[in-house]
Symmetry: C2
Subunit: 335 residues, 2 copies
């Protein structure tokens, strides 16, 4: 099957640090190649892939801020659309704009909806619901006004993570720093439980981070920056638990999966896709507020790190995800 | 000839007040219909036209700020692109985004480049230079990296303006309020010459307007707001001169033409398209700074209002513009 994967160009594919959409596009691309498919990745020019790489935008627009993202985006998308006839299927990871070209080409398009930045983008998804098959990344993220081909959960490569059942005495906050992600609550949980908190992630909201800065004393609460791959892996493996006190209906939550792959339980606010990812009481705790989170820390010893890892591998491996996508492509192509 | 005219959707077509791209798209559309062509106007739903009106965006996004302009823009553009086969030619007044669909359709596209918002949009125009014929709106606005079919000046309907050779004792600033347009210099010219200044236009830069607010005393310097059509016409007709002390390479300058159509001379900084619009010493003065502007006011009595009007009608009538576009369409269609 000749597959074109359209990645975003905000970050490199795979991203060096933050960039969840690019990360998923990369994982899938590499595994489709491994399984013998003929894959062309449309991404930034500095991307790294075993597929054929095609690009018009050399450097991610979040890195080189001198360019106009709107200009780069439409050039990136039209570059693929003009070559559509070379492919059996186009897999769009780029949100709504590519959909508006889909009726002008003959190649079928499948779109993974990585999340809705706002209800305002919905009219595009509604219009093109009959043109492109949609994949939801969790049942929670399905919009009632849209119809979907299937939910396909993100998957990770188990060997990319280090499993250990020996945990150190710290809680972990791992992800972008934004009110949605609830760093303020993670800090509160750390303070009330007495367990130190290590924080790693991209600062996406400067004002929010600054409002919490006085609490970051480098002892009880420590900020380690936006870490690269190797440091992240170690941090995930050794944590007593990942805190994930989210304040939005999170479509997926890759960090939750990364923690479980490392044998680390997750204490998450029970919102969005969390109940689809975490087995309450077995791979972590689905709780409702800070007090419940603090209580759940006492029960962490009942969680077996092996169960976390096993659950992640069985349900969220890259292998399973790739096979699901191949089945979805075949469904779209009536094969 | 079956012509699709693609207008922007920032404002209604024609705009009620500000909206120069929409204004030109409207003028052309109405006159193409008058000349017997089969025209479909793609614009906002509240637009007014004698052509067929097609729309997906009911209210201009500058009026209804609840929508996401990026979403409306791509839906508006793709709506036309998906109907491209119904037309002999598509006339794009919508800047660069429609170009990125142009290689996916068979109908030829002609694009009027109303100006470059930034050098950053140039890569799109460069890529599609071979796909869409480009029309420059002045020779001054031609970019050296692009090739053009032709320069076609904007035109106005002479009967839309009231000619008078009796002028009142005020200078006029007429246009959007932004540092590029030099309101601060217009105020200085008024103060130094002693002639009162009337100001009309959309406030596009609040900080800039606020910085000048203390000078607007309602006597020597008066701000009348963003006026509708009728009030604007009167103001243009009765002014002693239009001040146009611009600080950018203005691609055209509709207000300069509106003044001349009303028999009102224009005192403009000699930048951009100004020497293509104004005959120095005959329909106004091309000057270099505030002091020269003040000097030129003494020479205004040498300008004949009739010469201003005649020059405007001979060179910048809507009839001339429409015929030029029809010739350009035929050239594109090899007719």
């Amino acid at each position: 099957m000749k597959i074109a994967v359209l990645a975003p160009i905000a970050w490199r594919t795979p991203p060096l640090k933050y960039g969840p959409w690019e990360k998923v596009a990369s994982m899938l691309t590499e595994n489709l190649v491994k399984k013998g498919h003929d894959v062309t990745l449309f991404a930034t020019g500095d991307s790294v892939t075993s597929a054929k790489l095609r690009w018009v935008c050399e450097t991610p627009y979040e890195i080189d801020k001198s360019a106009d993202p709107k200009v780069l985006e439409c050039l990136h998308i039209s570059f693929l659309m003009e070559k559509a006839a070379e492919f059996d299927i186009i897999h769009n990871h780029f949100d709504f704009l590519p959909l508006t070209y889909s009726r002008l080409i003959k190649t079928p398009m499948i779109t993974t909806i990585h999340g809705f930045s706002s209800e305002k983008i919905l009219p595009v998804y509604i219009k093109y619901n009959s043109t492109s098959a949609y994949i939801s990344i969790s049942n929670a993220n399905r919009h009632p006004d849209l119809s979907y081909l299937e939910t396909i959960y993100h998957g990770l490569e188990p060997s990319d993570f280090i499993f250990s059942n020996k945990k150190e005495n710290y809680l972990l906050y791992f992800g972008r720093i934004h009110p949605d992600k609830g760093l303020h609550s993670a800090i509160e949980i750390s303070e009330k439980s007495g367990l130190p908190l290590k924080i790693a992630g991209l600062i996406q909201d400067d004002n929010y981070f600054n409002s919490l800065f006085s609490k970051i004393d480098g002892q009880q609460i420590e900020y380690l920056g936006n870490l690269g791959r190797e440091d992240s892996i170690k941090l995930l493996t050794s944590a007593k638990a990942l805190l994930h006190p989210i304040y939005f209906e999170e479509p997926f939550g890759l960090s939750v999966l990364e923690a479980m792959m490392s044998g680390t339980p997750v204490i998450a606010f029970n919102k969005g896709s969390m109940p689809e990812l975490i087995v309450n009481g077995k791979t972590g705790f689905l709780i409702g507020n800070v007090a419940e989170a603090v209580n759940s820390i006492d029960k962490l010893e009942k969680i077996e790190p092996e169960d976390c890892r096993r659950h992640a591998i069985q349900n969220f491996s890259i292998d399973k995800m790739t096979d699901s996508y191949i089945r979805a492509y075949k469904k779209v192509l009536n094969q």
